[in-house]
Symmetry: C2
Subunit: 325 residues, 2 copies
């Protein structure tokens, strides 16, 4: 494996932390006796559903938009990235345009608009959101804020990892292991950058939904491979088709491997987050906890940092999960 320096390091994550101070929530790092007993380890659970707009995405969006000199931004997303970009742009006094499929759930449209963004709809079957976004950027001078394959976004997401180390130290603990969910890989690339810089011995694992384990397989193979199309998953936030270029460049160097959780395991983790932690977690946000609770990682006797990444879940689905799926 190459010894070439990685494109970002602890310095960029620390700078992002300074930018986010007083703007992002320093979300708590929780521990719980019953969860510890279930896995025979000490779990430290980082709670990003409490982040502004309900997910970690706000961190990377704010860092990238704060670093940009463009007067406006454009992004494509129907989910958490859209809301993160919309709020970050509003706080920084910039116009935001979000390219969203015409069939996106109304609640996601409304929330994004309520945060002050303009929405441009496209036809999922016939148009390319990337092309539409690029055309808007070209025409208006807006900067494109990519959901994960952007170094400023990755550095912003990395503030989650930096906070984990600080907050664990406040409890007198050093994590041996960390498990972070992975779609395009921006959150885990940023977290691994901070975690491995501060705790060189830590082993960081990606968690993915079953059938969407492109990063696990890419890590094993040493090159990017895509998911088979058409596999369904409850984890709507984690359905990137393959690892990002920049994120995989980082993740192949810093990660110890990939873990997988089934939909049923994700539902169980959501229900335990409800009953034990009192935190609302969306399916994609629970996959790291699900993999740990399902025993996918040998962590007996260890201290394990686990990231819950977001909590934007429909109440109907949530009620079904509480009823046992």
């Amino acid at each position: 494996m190459s010894d070439e320096p990685l494109p970002i390091g602890l310095r960029e994550v620390s700078e992002a932390t300074a930018r986010l101070r007083g703007v992002a929530v320093r979300t708590p790092l929780l521990h719980d006796t019953l969860l510890d007993a279930l896995v025979g380890a000490r779990l430290l659970v980082k709670v990003e559903p409490l982040q502004r707009t309900g997910s970690f995405k706000f961190r990377g969006a704010y860092n990238a938009i704060a670093r940009s000199t463009a007067p406006a931004v454009v992004a494509w997303s129907s989910g958490n990235h859209a809301q993160g970009v919309a709020l970050a742009a509003a706080l920084l006094g910039k116009r935001a345009t979000i390219v969203m499929p015409a069939d996106a759930p109304r609640i996601k449209q409304e929330r994004t608009q309520a945060l002050g963004a303009e929405i441009v709809f496209y036809d999922r079957a016939r148009e390319s959101r990337e092309a539409i976004g690029a055309a808007i950027a070209e025409r208006t001078g807006a900067a494109i804020v990519r959901p994960y394959d952007d170094l400023d976004v990755i550095a912003g997401q990395g503030t989650v990892g930096l906070e984990i180390v600080e907050q664990a130290a406040e409890l007198g603990l050093l994590p041996d292991l960390a498990v972070v969910c992975c779609g395009g890989g921006g959150l885990i690339a940023g977290c691994a950058t901070a975690l491995r810089a501060l705790l060189p011995q830590i082993r960081v694992y990606a968690a993915e939904p079953a059938g969407h384990d492109d990063t696990a397989r890419s890590l094993a193979r040493g090159e990017r491979v895509a998911n088979a199309p058409g596999v369904r998953s409850i984890c709507d936030a984690l359905l990137a088709t393959e690892p990002g270029e920049l994120t995989f460049l980082i993740n192949r160097r810093l990660l110890a491997g990939g873990l997988v959780a089934s939909d049923a395991e994700v539902c169980r983790a959501m229900a335990l987050a409800f009953s034990e932690l009192k935190v609302v977690v969306e399916p994609g946000g629970a996959v790291a906890l699900a993999a740990v609770l399902a025993g996918r990682l040998d962590c007996r006797g260890r201290t394990v940092a686990v990231v819950l990444s977001g909590g934007n879940v429909d109440p109907d689905l949530y009620a079904r999960v509480l009823a046992g799926c």
Copy 2:
């Protein structure tokens, strides 16, 4: 009104804060754009469902048990106080006995036992839990940990108020108003002690369920009055029949008044805590937010601290609340 000094002050709350450092969770103080827009004020929401055992009760129990020299403790409760006492005693290496009605929900029995406490059941219709608890204390030398009418318990709960001031200051804000739920009155008595000492101009309001507004009416009357028996409420954690002696001594001097919320208003607040804050709140824990959202307090343009006090709610009830009650 008397100028006699109150039985506790900021000093006792600060000492409790030192005792709880690294033991209790410093729960976050959240703010949310949509909630602010709904009331036309800036809300700072203190999230005690994330406290260990799922409610603020752990704070007061730990402070009282840490101060006691007895080798064991006894308490009576079927709810949040039981779990708070059980965990605090376990952490401090003391035996805990909890007197609980024989018909208490099995989940509450199991959780209390899982935390290492011994349960003594009693017949709600024919026996007095106070008499049973006193007999156990007499026989075993255990210290009684009262749910609210105890100065060490009140000082421990007051750490919630002290943290609110610290965390608001970190955001560059000073609350003008605070709203705190009130059953026996321990949480609000402690919070008001800290808040009024640090921010003498702040106005602190009790929030109670409709039909259980004994503190609101007692404050208006200047003496303790009880609730009419038999009024039902969804807020099972807030059904004390009258204000405590010590708590009312403090609250009548420090509170600005009492607010009331209906069951429907409480359900709406729980649903907004789900969708906006991603926090699971039990009915009694949501009554302060409910009263503010229902417009019971003129707070336009103000900065308002609101305490969510606990999140121990049955999944069936929670699913019904999300479905619109």
